[in-house]
């Protein structure tokens, strides 16, 4: 059992593929992520000032000249960089790499709130708890027991729904098998109505994500910075329907 777990641990390298050609920008992923990860709502004014806590955001760009404009959507979340700029700058190891899942972890209890990681993230994927955000009743009942509720003064960001990864692994090992493609689906991928988000193990060359990463439409955001993002975007432009 322990050996099995160790072997799985070695093999895990989680990644995500987002097909921008079929993303409609509906924000279902944003909502699902907020519900899954106990993300507080900050109110209209704070949101407008740029203090929204969403771990996943839809970046909307306009293409063309007015009035001939078309919207362009790009869901942006923590890219779980293989060589993450946020990690070396934290003075207290509150953000660090998990050896098992090979994703970036944020240890809320350890964070002292220097916010250096957020400055250094080229994707602006990190959000800061500016206040203690109250979750009014009865909405406090929706809180997900698998996810820590954060207090003021700490940084947070997308975890690739690490609680679901852990659950998937436990499930698989309880059934005495190895973790398979499709065992783990993060909240955003689960909620996407056009199935634009695919999640899986990149170290398995036959997994759906591995196949999609090899697509000729694939690109990684700001890859030239050497961050080795684990999120791949697919964008083919007009001929693919984009």
């Amino acid at each position: 059992m322990t050996e099995l777990l160790a072997k799985e641990a070695q093999d895990e390298k989680w990644g995500m593929v987002i097909d921008l050609d079929i993303c409609s920008g509906c924000q279902a992923c944003v909502t699902a992520c907020s519900m899954e990860n106990n993300i507080p709502f900050v109110g209209e004014d704070e949101m407008a000032y740029g203090r929204g806590m969403q771990w996943m955001r839809i970046r909307r760009y306009w293409e063309g000249e007015y009035p001939e404009v078309t919207p362009d959507h790009q869901p942006m979340l923590c890219q779980q960089c293989g060589s993450a700029p946020c990690e070396p700058v934290c003075p207290v190891f509150a953000t660090l790499h998990s050896e098992v899942e090979k994703i970036n972890l944020q240890v809320y209890n350890r964070c002292i709130g220097t916010r250096y990681c957020a400055n250094n993230c080229p994707y602006h994927a990190r959000t800061f708890n500016w206040f203690d955000y109250e979750i009014p009743a009865p909405m406090n009942s929706y809180l997900n027991p698998d996810v820590t509720v954060r207090r003021r003064g700490v940084m947070e960001k997308c975890t690739f729904c690490v609680q679901r990864i852990v659950k998937g692994r436990q499930q698989a090992s309880a059934e005495g098998r190895e973790i398979e493609d499709g065992d783990v689906t993060p909240a955003c991928a689960q909620a996407c109505p056009t199935d634009a988000i695919t999640f899986g193990n990149l170290s398995d060359p036959e997994s759906r994500v591995s196949k999609m990463v090899r697509s000729d439409r694939a690109y990684k955001e700001l890859e030239n910075l050497g961050t080795e993002p684990r999120v791949t975007y697919l964008k083919g432009g007009k001929s693919y329907g984009g």
């Binding site: 704070e46 000032y49 740029g50 203090r51 929204g52 970046r59 909307r60 760009y61 942006m76 700029p85 070396p88 700058v89 934290c90 003075p91 207290v92 190891f93 350890r110 964070c111 002292i112 709130g113 220097t114 916010r115 250096y116 957020a118 400055n119 250094n120 080229p122 994707y123 602006h124 959000t127 800061f128 708890n129 500016w130 206040f131 203690d132 003021r152 003064g153 700490v154 940084m155 700001l222 910075l225 961050t227």
Partner: protein
Amino acid sequence: MAADVKPFIGSKASPHQESEADELRKEHLMLDPMPRDEMNQMVMEAMTTTTRNWWAWVIGLGLAVAVLLFGVWGYMIATGMGVAGIRRPVFWGIFIVTFVFWIGISHAGTFVSAILRVFKAEFRRPFTRAAELMTTFGLAAGALYPLIHLGRVWVFYWMVPYPNARWLWPNFRSALVWDFLAITTYLLSSTIYLFLPLIPDMAMARDRSTGWRHFIYKLLALGWRGTEAEWFRLRKAISIFAFAIIPVMFSVHTIVSWDFAVSMVSGWQSSIFGPYFIIGAILSGVSAVVTILYILRSTMKHMDYFIRKEHFDALGKLILIFSMAWAYFFFNEYILAWYGGDAALKQVLTLHATGPSAWVWYTMLICNVAIPWLFLWNKKVRRTPWLMFIITILVNVGMYAERYTIIPLTLGHQRSPFDWGIYNPTIIEVSIALGTLCLFIFLYLIASRIIPLVPIWEVQEGQMSHTLRKVGKTEIPSVTELE
């Protein structure tokens, strides 16, 4: 120290030569000696005189520190960082700007004193201590900011390498930890460097005071008697520290610049930030020394004897040179960015000059380059203390604008235009920044009445080594090498 040396004054000099010698004496403190005891009394008097005005300032500033700094900070701790204006993508604002500003000022204080001591610049003698004190109190004000800007200040000690049950150390790869260690190093070494030349003056004050003052000075004088062996050791120690603190200053302020330079932020990631920050620190620090000297000269008793126009003149030249050096680095940043052709960096630098906050950028250039270059070449301006006061304050306004441009304005326009944002400081941040300014002035006011702001023994030593000697028909100043 040997017996008093009588300056050479040509007794049979012609009226013309006499007036020339008088002029030299009026101009140079070193050629205008005063009996030692009289000078000691002057400094003691300057130190013990507290006017009604002084008390009003101390009480007013004390209240301001309590309310603007600690009161508002307490409110921020209790409510959350959100009361500050920072937001995505600008996670660092006024706090870090003011932090770099104070650290810059403080680094230059000791540096100015040490470099002038090492190069035996004689004009340094009356104001080294004023500059060193600026370092100590600048650090006291600046070192609060790494705490103030923390989201959870109550666990700040996790940044300190201390043994704990979890076997957790700070992350030594983080520039913030280097910064923490560098500032601590500088605080310690500059405090020792401040204290060493203070010992003989403490002994002087001990011998001329009673009551609580006598008690304090007795403690701080460490039993100084003024024997030859004591002087020998003191000189050796001061000399070691003066040499050692110069590389420390360079490395420490380079490390402060690495808070930015080692990051991935476009506009921060730069290999010239180390020297750029050092030059900026010296520019703002020398200017702050002049500002302080002007205030000391115009508010404290007998200070116009010690602080003369020659000092403003000499420091004015230094400011002009450092302003030129600063401009070189500023230009360098642009030309290298242009040559490198990085689109994001080009965007950031263009927006500094054309974006919504471009006035900050222009303020920086006007105050740091235009004003010193237009005025400081002029000897008359350099020798007019109140003009120097205004110019040096403006230089520091410009240096503040420089840090503001580098920090929030650069963070606001990074690689993804969707995440561009403007940062508006709130009253909370401004209040805390003003609070630390009040803290600095408050500490300086208190210190000005407790320790001698003029290193008397150094002035006396200098006056002993300087004489007017007659060569042919003219009298020329001569300096004897003492060390």
